[in-house]
């Protein structure tokens, strides 16, 4: 299977701080790929480099065999990349349906899609995500958990090839997590969308991801299947700064 996303030697500095240092990895088409690491490790920054919010200082981003390192974000979206934000960014005054429609209108099919088709796609996605009954409400009346799902709905409406998910499970109660994990699996398996996800909820990502990398202080310290990662001494050491997470690791083993 071909590599849908190739990240090569990415370095990103903010003034004196090196947020990412020589990070490389490859994601295969149709894969569920995880990114974990302590807070401040550079995970969100990595997403920002992948989807064009930041330009890397060195390195390349290759998406669907095209070097997109110097593309602006909107061009990447149109080429089939969609993302959700750790801190939700809904279009507050627009309705839930309109939020999702914007995803459809400006996604990969942007130059052929009609408003009616966009509405159709958006409603289907809302149905799939379970926001159907809120479709006509303005986005700002949703609660946090619904706003997270709206992020996902917007991203899905664009019918992307690659979905970047930044902590979509954070802040959800366990029952909601299970629903969401099921949803993500369905997105991947039924729609064939490649998923790269940043996640702190260990049991979920260990379950869901087929392969993953671990970031620590901007460096990639490990790569492999969840069970390989869970047995990697360097990863455990990195997480020892956070005893709670380390404990979860040990339990997982």
């Amino acid at each position: 299977m071909r590599d849908v996303l190739v990240v090569e030697n990415i370095t990103k500095r903010f003034g004196g701080l090196t947020a990412l240092s020589q990070v490389s990895f490859k994601v295969k088409e149709g894969e569920r790929f995880g990114i974990i690491g302590p807070n401040g490790a550079g995970k969100t920054t990595l997403f920002n480099v992948i989807n064009g919010v930041y330009r890397p200082d060195t390195g390349k981003v290759i998406f669907k065999d095209t070097d997109i390192t110097h593309w602006p974000p909107h061009r990447r979206a149109r080429y089939g990349m969609a993302r959700t934000h750790q801190v939700v960014k809904p279009f507050s005054d627009l309705t839930v349906l309109e939020n999702a429609m914007i995803g459809a209108l400006f996604g990969p099919k942007h130059d052929s899609i009609t408003e009616d088709e966009a509405r159709e796609i958006a409603s289907n996605v809302l149905e799939f995500i379970g926001l159907k009954e809120k479709a006509d409400l303005p986005a700002n009346v949703l609660n946090v958990q619904e706003k997270k799902r709206l992020e996902l709905a917007r991203a899905l409406s664009s019918q992307p090839d690659l979905l970047l998910l930044d902590e979509v499970l954070a802040g959800l109660v366990p029952s909601e997590i299970d629903v969401m994990v099921g949803l993500l699996r369905k997105i991947n398996e039924e729609k064939g969308i490649t998923i790269v996800m940043i996640e702190h909820v260990m049991h979920a990502i260990m379950n869901l991801a087929e392969r993953m990398i671990v970031l620590d202080f901007g460096r990639k310290i490990a790569e492999g299947t969840p069970s390989e990662i869970a047995n990697n001494p360097e990863v455990i050491a990195a997480y020892l700064g956070n005893p709670e997470l380390a404990l979860k690791f040990v339990q997982k083993r």
Binding site: P72, H74, D93, E98, I102, F106, R119
Partner: protein
């Protein structure tokens, strides 16, 4: 989905257009009806500039203090076509008109079209070149930078008129072309139809969705595939073109004046949008009507006090209804939402 022609915004626009059409036909009956014609002309102008501003401010969320620059450019274009070009045929008309004649409709149409083309060209040029630089700024910074734009152009135009005006001053006077208030009314009406439907179709188009996304969260819009920079420039230019139309309309009616560039023109456009409510198509229309009615009724009732009362009204409105009338209506009567596009 419902056809465009049955959507609330389209129906409301059409009702307003029909209202002005009827007013125009009834206009020429007697002195009182002619007064209403003059009010109607003013009202079209106020709604027109409000909607022109709406495209950049209400739709895209970029507040421009300098949008009057485009009204000024329109006004100047007409002044240029009618006066500064020193055309012999206009001058010869002057002689004929002196004996009670009237410029032919064909020539009027030619001058009108020339003004439009000139104004569109200058507006697009300025909006694209300057917009390319200043549309990287956000919020108050963008707003202030447009003041710079407005005043640079204003003083350059002032210089041009001063050095080229046959009257020797900074102002220009139209040749008397024997036109009546009704002619001006219908000229306004043509531009009004263009403005209101362009504003509406922009709002409901894909472009309109993109602008709404920019207004609500520009970074998210960009990440979702909206070419934010290009859309902002388009919006700035389109807003400018529509604003310049109203400078043209008024300049045919009252002659070119440097006053069209002044900040208070932008501010009126801004107030109309804020009073009506940001984010909708209906809002700026309601805001413009209310602004016009307030100003007009104050002028006729309280005379000198107009500015004081108008200013105080703005302060009160902002303090108590920060979301404007449409925002207030949406909150109070959620079932009206659908009609408040």
């Amino acid at each position: 989905m419902v056809s465009v022609f049955r959507r609330p915004g389209f129906i409301i626009s059409t009702i307003i257009v029909l209202f002005f059409l009827v007013l125009g036909y009834l206009g020429n009956i007697n002195a009182i009806s002619r007064m209403y014609v003059s009010n109607g002309t003013d009202l079209m102008y106020y709604i027109g500039i409000g909607l022109a501003m709406a495209i950049i401010m209400s739709y895209a969320g970029y507040v421009s203090f300098g949008q009057a620059v485009f009204v000024g450019i329109g006004s100047f274009s007409t002044g240029y076509v009618l006066v500064l070009m020193n055309r012999s045929n206009i001058i010869s008309y002057l002689a004929k008109i002196g004996s009670g004649g009237r410029i032919s409709n064909t020539m009027l149409a030619v001058y009108f079209t020339e003004s439009l083309l000139l104004a569109i060209t200058i507006s697009v040029f300025i909006a694209v070149v300057v917009g390319y630089a200043v549309l990287r700024l956000r919020g108050a910074f963008f707003a202030i930078s447009t003041i710079g734009l407005d005043y640079v152009v204003m003083y350059l135009v002032k210089y041009i008129t001063k050095t080229r005006s046959p009257f020797g001053g900074e102002e220009l006077l139209n040749p008397s072309m024997g036109l009546t208030d009704m002619t001006f009314y219908w000229m306004h009406f043509i531009l009004f139809i263009i403005t209101i439907y362009v504003a509406y179709f922009v709002k409901i188009s894909k472009f309109g969705y993109g602008l709404a996304a920019i207004r609500e969260d520009e970074d998210a819009a960009e990440i979702m595939g909206v070419n934010t920079f290009r859309y902002k420039i388009y919006a700035f230019a389109l807003s400018g073109i529509l604003a310049s139309f109203w400078g043209i309309a008024e300049a045919f009616r009252k002659s070119y004046s440097i006053g069209y560039f002044k900040l208070d023109k932008s501010i009126i456009m801004l107030v109309e949008n804020v009073v009506g409510g940001i984010g909708s198509f209906i809002g700026p229309i309601i805001g413009s009507i209310i602004y016009y009615l307030l100003e007009w009724s104050f002028l006729t009732t309280v005379g000198q006090w107009t500015l004081v009362i108008l200013g105080a009204t703005v302060v009160v409105v902002v303090a108590f209804f920060p979301e404007g009338i449409v925002g207030l209506l949406k909150k109070r009567f959620p079932r009206l939402r659908k009609w408040l596009e």
